[in-house]
């Protein structure tokens, strides 16, 4: 019964202290009823002993096991359907491909799960894009996804991926395969080492402030006339106190919108470090990716007025 109920752990009892107390309402079993039960069980046992066939069973247990074993029949597991076999075959081919291509990856940093999710988010956002329908696997290096793009969309996707490269993310389609429901892509994803330049005045943004910051940048991009999406990525930990919170922005818009957005970022009271960017210029609809690090700047220390007076 308890397998399907939802067991949330909003409160966890301290097990050591959870010593069962006795309920004042607990019914007590009287000694006379225990004696009566023992007598009853004894009487039943005596009856069983006199019953010859039962005694035989008690003394020849092996015979019973054999009897039951003879009755049981082996049922083979149901065969795979054609569809399952097709998927298994194509996945097996992709895995073979992975083994060969993995050898070529040398100077790269593997992407974390959040980066991978960011890429999938990115691919979902850009219309028409790959339009991923299903993600088969995401491991340290490869994403296998199934999309429904046509030739034109596929070419657009390649441009998008090139723009993404500007944000220090290298995502390339190394194999495609047509299936009955769409195209299956094997994508290799790596990122270049992110620049790590620090200023002692930087202070990390508190976790509870992140959503606020994210919303601010989002509204700024919309106000500038960009259509896009922001995906939270990793939190880079540097030292005991400092954390850099990374965001990936990807969007489209006119050149003036991009400039307005970048100017707006520059005026924010918290510090947005644009780590890298990728832009693909088109007539009216430029594609832009930004990899941003968020930090606060500590207020600059000013000399107290009292000290100045003393000097005079």
């Amino acid at each position: 019964m308890n397998e399907n109920i939802l067991k949330l752990k909003l409160y966890k009892p301290e097990l050591e202290k959870a010593v069962p107390k006795k309920s004042p309402y607990r019914k007590r079993v009287s000694p006379s009823s225990i004696i009566a039960a023992v007598i009853l069980i004894g009487a039943i046992f005596l009856v069983i002993l006199k019953w010859e066939s039962i005694v035989d069973i008690l003394y020849k247990p092996k015979a019973i096991y054999l009897k039951f074993a003879a009755k049981s029949t082996y049922k083979p597991s149901p065969p795979d359907t054609m569809r399952q076999r097709q998927i298994a075959d194509s996945l097996a081919k992709l895995v073979q491909q992975k083994v060969i291509t993995a050898l070529n990856v040398i100077d790269s940093i593997k992407l974390s799960m959040r980066w991978k999710r960011g890429i999938i988010d990115f691919l979902k956002y850009f219309p028409p894009g790959l339009n991923p329908k299903k993600v088969y696997t995401i491991d340290d290096e490869f994403i296998v996804i199934e999309g429904t793009s046509k030739t034109r969309a596929y070419l657009d996707t390649l441009i998008d991926l090139a723009v993404l490269k500007g944000a220090f993310i290298n995502c390339e389609i190394i194999k495609t395969e047509q299936t009955s429901i769409g195209t299956r892509y094997l994508m290799r994803t790596t990122k270049q080492p992110v620049e790590r330049v620090w200023d002692d005045n930087f202070v990390s943004i508190q976790p509870y402030k992140r959503k606020e910051v994210l919303d601010r940048i989002d509204s700024l991009s919309r106000a500038a006339g960009l259509t896009g999406n922001i995906t939270p990525l990793d939190e880079e930990i540097h030292g005991e106190d400092f954390k850099r919170y990374l965001l990936l922005f990807h969007g489209r818009g006119s050149t003036s919108s991009i400039v307005e957005f970048l100017e707006g970022i520059d005026k924010l009271e918290f510090y947005v470090q644009i780590i890298s960017s990728g832009i693909e210029f088109a007539t009216m609809n430029n594609r832009l990716t930004l990899l941003m690090g968020l930090n606060y700047l500590t207020p600059k220390m000013s000399t107290p007025k009292g000290e100045q007076t003393n000097l005079q």
């Binding site: 019964m1 308890n2 109920i5 752990k9 097990l15 959870a18 069962p20 607990r26 799960m113 299903k134």
Partner: protein, 325 residues
């Protein structure tokens, strides 16, 4: 600590503390069966004991619960308590199964996205609900302020009981239903918990939990509680509930208009007038009793209890929790 065995570990008290009523249910689990042993309920509306889900008078609350416990004389020493839906953040999030393992702070991150004030200390719990989408496996995330749990824990301990779990109202009601319905039941039900001033929605799709949301009514619910309330009040409430249900379940296509049935639970579940009025707004039938499998759920409080079980289902769900989990 080794698992507790024997009768003491099998029995749990489910305690529901809400604005309008308090409920105590003693349940016992045995294999696949759940025995509803004892149950008592008292209306406490307008007595200044609980307001908007928060316990205003701890001593009065303990006193009222003590009266109910003395009435039913339970043998259980462990208890689970409800958390009103309006005080809980409940979300269903699609995730890749291994992401939590790789990023332990992922759910904290998700919680922060939905929290109004993330600086307040809160408890967080999440678990898979056994359903998958193209974006990943669905996880139910629940978060509640720590002080809300602490105030309820103090009441339970004030009764001399040991608190073992605290479940949000919709989760408790779902557990009560899913543990007692037919195991092959693939119906889609809409549950409406009318525990005024709040009403809460959740659904079961093929037995999986789908949370809708909770709202506070704008109708004069005190008027409904008085003797011979005018029909116009019921009409207003039913219209509001219908509209909210459509809003909450908008992402789920034609649901709830194509639901198998609508089940009323909570404080107003027994109201025949409200059932009839809601029937004028919703296409699916408003069920008179909650369907259950007689082999799984055994009423030791009288066979007719099945007719009013909807008012106690949250307590039953809470009584299903065990010290050994």
């Amino acid at each position: 600590m080794p698992k507790l065995k024997g009768e003491v570990a099998k029995r749990t008290l489910g305690i529901v503390i809400s604005d309008r009523e308090i409920i105590v249910v003693e349940g016992k689990r045995s294999g696949k069966k759940f025995y509803l042993l004892k149950a008592a309920r008292e209306l406490i509306g307008d007595k200044g004991i609980v307001e908007n889900g928060r316990i205003v008078s701890e001593s009065a609350c303990i006193l009222k619960l003590r009266e109910l416990i003395d009435q039913i004389k339970p043998e259980a020493v462990f208890a689970s308590v409800n958390i009103p839906a309006n005080l809980v953040l409940l979300k269903t999030i699609p995730l890749d199964p291994d992401i939590i393992e790789r990023f332990p702070d992922w759910m904290e991150w998700e919680k922060e996205k939905h929290s109004v004030d993330a600086s307040i200390k809160s408890e967080l719990s999440y678990l898979p609900i056994g359903a998958k989408t193209s974006d990943g496996e669905l996880y139910l995330m629940a978060s509640v302020r720590k002080d809300i749990i602490i105030e309820r824990k103090r009441v339970i301990e004030g009764l001399g009981l040991t608190l073992i779990a605290a479940d949000p109202d919709p989760v408790a009601a779902y557990n009560g239903f899913i543990a007692s319905c037919r195991e092959d039941d693939e119906s889609n039900y809409l549950f409406i918990d009318i525990s005024l001033p709040f009403y809460t929605f959740f659904a079961t799709f093929n037995g999986k939990f789908v949370y809708g949301g909770t709202k506070v009514t704008s109708v004069d619910y005190h008027g409904i509680e008085r003797g011979n309330p005018p029909q116009v009040l019921f009409d207003s409430l039913a219209r509001e509930i219908h509209q909210s249900a459509l809003e909450f379940f908008a992402p789920y296509g034609d649901f709830p208009q194509n639901a198998t049935g609508i089940i009323l639970i909570g404080y107003f579940a027994p109201s025949e007038t409200l059932k009839n009025t809601l029937g004028n707004f919703f296409l699916p039938p408003i069920l008179n009793t909650i369907p259950y499998d007689k082999k799984r759920l055994k009423f030791k409080v009288g066979k007719d209890f099945g007719n009013v079980w909807g008012a106690y289902i949250k307590g039953c769900g809470l009584a299903l929790r065990s010290i050994n989990e």
